[in-house]
């Protein structure tokens, strides 16, 4: 082990001690929610849930964009993938997400042209290479990812690429947090705030938590010591009855975020109501293209006449899992009818889904608070 690792190990041990000291004797466990799939996975991978005292309960919220994408969006993507003249370009984690009857992976197996890309710019490159096709990028993601698709749209406009489109379903984190908190049974005592969303929006974007809900929030990084620092700060605020927003990820998070990215988002998108799996429709929680860029919206350029998806009766309880209402283990399908290889719901499909994390790291054998 190098010197830095040893120091981080010491720091983590000390933070854990302090978290224990500050929470011993609490009547009710502190319920701290993370709203970022990358946090969820890092917490499980590091085994933090087993290390923390029983008085600190970590709850996963709607932090995985793939998981909150509703059936209807997947149905549209699948519908487009079946068209002869369309190439669907997507981040890989969307492939197996079930729509109401099928998935993109199935459409691909049936001959649909679906390409996995790492960046929206890769989708733009595919459009340039295939001028006879329409290339539709599945624009999902939170504030971290939304500006990258906006930049691709502006590049397509500048370079006059007429066959590049988005199927927009980007979402904003703060309105989802508000929706969760509007539920009186939410029982959340603080938020571990998403580090990379805050890189774009700035930590100030979350000040409403303290001001309006009197809840603490700490922007945290992703390594085990960074996560523990975030949890320690939340526990300390809770112990002192404080509520403010702190930034424990200062290496990349500034109070005001990334102004260039915000400007680009604002130029290309406006907010709209959006449907979240598990949370329903939330006002001003989604992004759509502004009029000046509406021609890049494939849903407008080629509307699909899809039947409204009937609610599924599989017994999947992803919706409650996403709101932190139940743990995956409380769902009857978890690890029986629903495993990553044949998942009933998106929380098991996405590598960053809560159910997938529970399944991968111990199959639910541990008492995860």
């Amino acid at each position: 082990m190098d010197e830095k690792t040893i120091k981080e190990k010491d720091l983590s041990a000390r933070l854990l001690e302090e978290i224990k000291r500050l929470t011993t004797g609490r009547e009710h466990p502190l319920r701290l929610m993370e709203v970022c799939g990358t946090h969820t996975v890092s917490i499980f991978r590091a085994g933090l849930r087993q290390l923390l005292p029983a008085e600190v309960e970590l709850v996963s919220g709607p932090g995985c964009p793939v998981c909150v994408t509703p059936d209807g969006y997947m149905d549209a993507a699948i519908g487009y993938a079946r068209m002869e003249d369309v190439i669907v370009a997507t981040f890989g984690d969307m492939l197996k997400v079930p729509g109401s009857a099928s998935s993109l992976a199935e459409a691909m197996a049936r001959g649909g042209d679906v390409r996995i890309v790492y960046s929206p710019l890769d989708a733009l490159a595919i459009a340039k290479e295939n001028p006879e096709k329409k290339v539709v990028f599945l624009a999902v993601g939170f504030e971290t990812t939304a500006p990258t698709a906006a930049a691709a749209v502006l590049t397509a406009e500048r370079e006059n690429v007429g066959n590049f489109f988005l199927l927009p379903a980007q979402k904003l984190v703060p309105p989802a947090i508000r929706a969760l908190l509007s539920d009186e049974d939410a029982r959340i005592d603080g938020f571990l705030l998403p580090g990379h969303v805050a890189v774009v929006t700035g930590s100030e974007n979350f000040s409403f938590l303290a001001e309006e809900y009197h809840l603490p929030g700490v922007v945290a990084g992703f390594s085990p010591p960074e996560l523990l620092r975030g949890i320690y700060r939340l526990v300390r605020q809770a112990a002192a009855g404080e509520a403010r927003i702190e930034n424990e990820y200062k290496s990349v998070v500034r109070a005001g975020g990334n102004p260039a990215a915000q400007k680009m988002m604002d130029q290309v998108y406006e907010t709209c109501a959006a449907e979240w799996r598990g949370l329903g429709a939330i006002p001003d929680s989604g992004l759509r293209l502004r009029d000046a860029y509406r021609r890049f919206d494939f849903a407008e350029a080629r509307p699909l006449d899809l039947p409204t998806a009937p609610p599924k009766k599989s017994g999947c309880r992803c919706g409650e899992v996403l709101r932190g209402k139940i743990t995956p283990k409380e769902c009857k399908l978890f690890d029986t009818a629903c495993v990553p290889e044949h998942a009933a719901g998106p929380c098991m499909v996405s590598a960053e889904g809560v159910c997938a994390a529970w399944h991968k790291y111990g199959g639910g054998i541990f008492q995860y608070g």
Binding site: P120, L121, T148, H196, Y232, A240, V252, A261
Partner: protein, 83 residues
């Protein structure tokens, strides 16, 4: 989805940077981070540099340590207080 990796900018041509991480090089757009320069470490997400990484302040970690050992709190105090 919001996964991002740190990498060092080794070359910039127009608004496209070549970034390097442990010997692997890739291209990253600087459209969202026009102020980045060669030599900067940046956080890369979905093909874009998103932020310049500032070296973490060891003094802050030491202050955190002192605070846990009963010293006065000095970290994060500059942030707005609502309490």
């Amino acid at each position: 989805m919001c996964l991002a990796v740190p990498a060092k900018i080794v070359e910039i041509r127009d608004s496209l940077a070549t970034v390097e991480l442990r010997g692997v090089t890739r291209e990253a757009s600087l459209m969202l981070l026009p102020e980045a320069k060669v030599g900067d470490y940046v956080l890369v997400h979905a093909g874009f540099a998103m932020q310049i990484i500032e070296e973490t302040d060891m003094a802050e970690t030491e202050a955190l340590w002192a605070e846990m050992n009963g010293g006065p709190r000095t970290v994060n105090l500059e942030l707005s207080q609502h309490g």
